[in-house]
Symmetry: C2
Subunit: 404 residues, 2 copies
């Protein structure tokens, strides 16, 4: 008689954004006349840039002719894309990452969920708190997190590193030594950044204790300050302790187009075993490559026209971030983020819980945000708004919030 | 100090098709003048059909305008595609499968590798032998297969069900009771089919012993005979014991476009737990949907024009299958498959091993096939050729083989 993976049954409730989706849907059905503005889920709204659209059309045409048709892609991704990534995202920033250390995928969510698979089930993870739910949830599903305590909303075998106003949303080194450390900077959900010196401390620590940092750099394109690193490989020694995840979702609007990549340096080893070989094995056995047309679209992100167009797109969203941040401050809220990231992290007013504020904002202003507590216990009393709406909607949402 | 997933280290050698790729590359480099014909990996060569190209262009245009831009897709896939699948692949064949039991993905390889995750690590798998390597390899990576015996090339905790000329390549019910049964019909690699009556025996057996059948129907479009089922849900009782995997790779040439789906009926339960809920949770947590433009391409597969064009494409490949089968028979080989599947499975001549015949064919005829032993111990002494080449190449390859 077959049995299910019991670890799945330990997961409390459903995935955060599914819950929000259901709540919003129920509210909309009960109030069909209300115009809801969504600044909740981190989904972009601007169309794909013209250079990307052009590359897509061209690749589609290629797929329609026998001479230029493309079947299975190379396991790690097409060289034209891996070379563009290696040059633009690494070499040009003085980081030593070779094209064959880059694994092209269908997005950073999948990679951030799958990467734990190449590690032992006995490894202990450390996560920022609050944090993108996928890191912890996928470790729960693998059976790596111990027992859930509903009162504290924490797992017995997870090291939580609180990120609150008290430490400016940058975690301190944990007291207990972890094996895997998930870091995401610029941060989702708090919108905070880490300086190069601060990140170097983590790299040195990981090398010292023999931990691996899984560095999620999905929001790198939003960095506006000089001393904030765009890649963990800007830090010395990162090649022996860090895996980096990158997404095309936020810098190029690929949330519905799906493209990302993971860097596993060949110097990252456990004894004689290269993690690079393990991830290559996973990629080759359980994955079949990103679509050719999407990889061509990814290449266009690095073309001169693509770069220029996407700079404007990022600026558009960051202008929204400014509107949100200033609007909230004007309305008397305590606010963080929004400078190097498209997320604004606000303290809920009058000791409301995060979900109470979610309901309040949905019902009174018809604005959807994300409850901070959905990202972890230290997110309680906080709330996330995203800059990914249209400018018009963002302005309208803030007008509504200011009137509350 | 972090540790790796030791199960990965148990995997012998590298993924079959990577090994073949390396061997062919080495031969080509040593003999740059030789024109190699590839009838090895199951990759298609015909371009995407015009109806699909048109749908792709249209969807790309939508992605370029704010009003019609699409961000994150719904977790399970777009309704337009799930409805088309439910109608065409199930309702029209008299199978009761609802649209919300269909999970759209980026391909059957990923799904067939990931599906084991929702089951207990203690479950015992049964596989046909020979078999598509992904089923066993992904269970090895999960730690479900016990110890590898290099002499017999088998795992201690896997139930192998030999499929050889003796049983016409359809397995007998296993003596030891499995929890998960992987079946693939029309079969890769043997090209054999199963009749509806034969498959009903498996469904009844699975329901009786409490096993789940993971039914890989990737080659369904190639069925030409009347009594061969296109879906396991044509059998009575399959809703309580079977998961079905489908691919767009072989019926529509999506190997480089990436689209597939998995059906998990809501009646399939372990106690109160629906496997549907577990797979939905995995999909929602570790996956982020297939690209919008690719899902629109998938929809076009079911349009009247798409159906007509793809019928011709399948007929084109099946004509190749006929050329291979008849050519080999003419050359004195013993051959199976090629009637309901694009694979031809031949007995190697003069007691050559599968890899010996691989080298022989590569060196003497410059034709690449796949060694049967790469699919499992009972594949030793067999060899697979695929009908996915161009007609011209297929004819040329057979001319070379006949001259040997």
């Amino acid at each position: 008689m077959f049995k299910v993976n019991d670890n799945y049954l330990k997961l409390p409730g459903s995935y955060l954004f599914s819950t929000i989706g259901k709540k919003v849907k129920a509210y909309q059905e009960a109030h069909p006349d209300k115009e809801i503005i969504r600044l909740g889920i981190g989904d972009v709204t601007q169309p794909l840039a013209p250079a990307i659209i052009e590359a897509l059309h061209k690749a589609v045409d290629e797929m329609g002719k026998a001479e230029t048709f493309h079947g299975y892609a190379p396991d790690l991704g097409y060289e034209f894309l891996r070379n563009a990534i290696a040059k633009n995202d690494y070499a040009d920033r003085g980081c030593r990452i070779e094209a064959d250390e880059i694994f092209v995928s269908d997005g950073a969510k999948c990679d951030s969920g799958n990467i734990q698979e190449i590690f032992s089930i006995d490894n202990k993870i450390a996560v920022c708190d609050p944090v993108y739910p996928v890191y912890v949830d996928t470790n729960v599903m693998a059976g790596r997190t111990g027992v859930y305590d509903p009162a504290s909303e924490t797992w017995s075998d997870v090291i939580y590193m609180p990120c609150t106003a008290e430490n400016d949303f940058v975690p301190e080194l944990p007291r207990e030594t972890p094996d895997l450390i998930y870091l995401c900077f610029p941060n989702n959900p708090t919108g905070s950044a880490i300086t190069k010196d601060q990140l170097q401390v983590w790299v040195d620590y990981a090398n010292r204790v023999g931990a691996v940092i899984i560095y999620d750099a999905a929001y790198e394109a939003y960095i506006s300050e000089e001393n904030v690193p765009h890649s963990i490989y800007e830090c010395e020694g990162a090649r022996t302790c860090a895996i980096e995840l990158k997404s095309f979702s936020k810098n190029a609007g690929f949330t519905g187009t799906r493209l990302g990549y993971t860097v596993v340096p060949k110097d990252l080893k456990s004894g004689d075993v290269m993690l690079h070989s393990l991830w290559a094995r996973r990629h080759g056995t359980k994955y079949n490559g990103a679509p050719y047309i999407v990889q061509r679209a990814g290449e266009a992100v690095y073309s001169p026209e693509g770069k220029e167009q996407l700079k404007k797109q990022v600026a558009y969203y960051m202008n929204n971030a400014r509107v949100i941040k200033e609007g909230l401050q004007e309305a008397g809220y305590t606010v963080a983020g929004g400078v190097n990231a498209p997320y604004i992290w606000l303290k809920t007013p009058e000791k409301m819980t995060s979900w109470e504020f979610f309901d309040y904002l949905l019902e009174k202003a018809n604005v959807v945000g994300t409850p901070g507590s959905g990202f972890g216990p230290s997110g309680e009393g906080y709330f996330r708004l995203t800059a990914f709406g249209s400018y018009e909607n963002t302005v309208a949402a803030l007008e509504r919030i200011k009137k509350l």
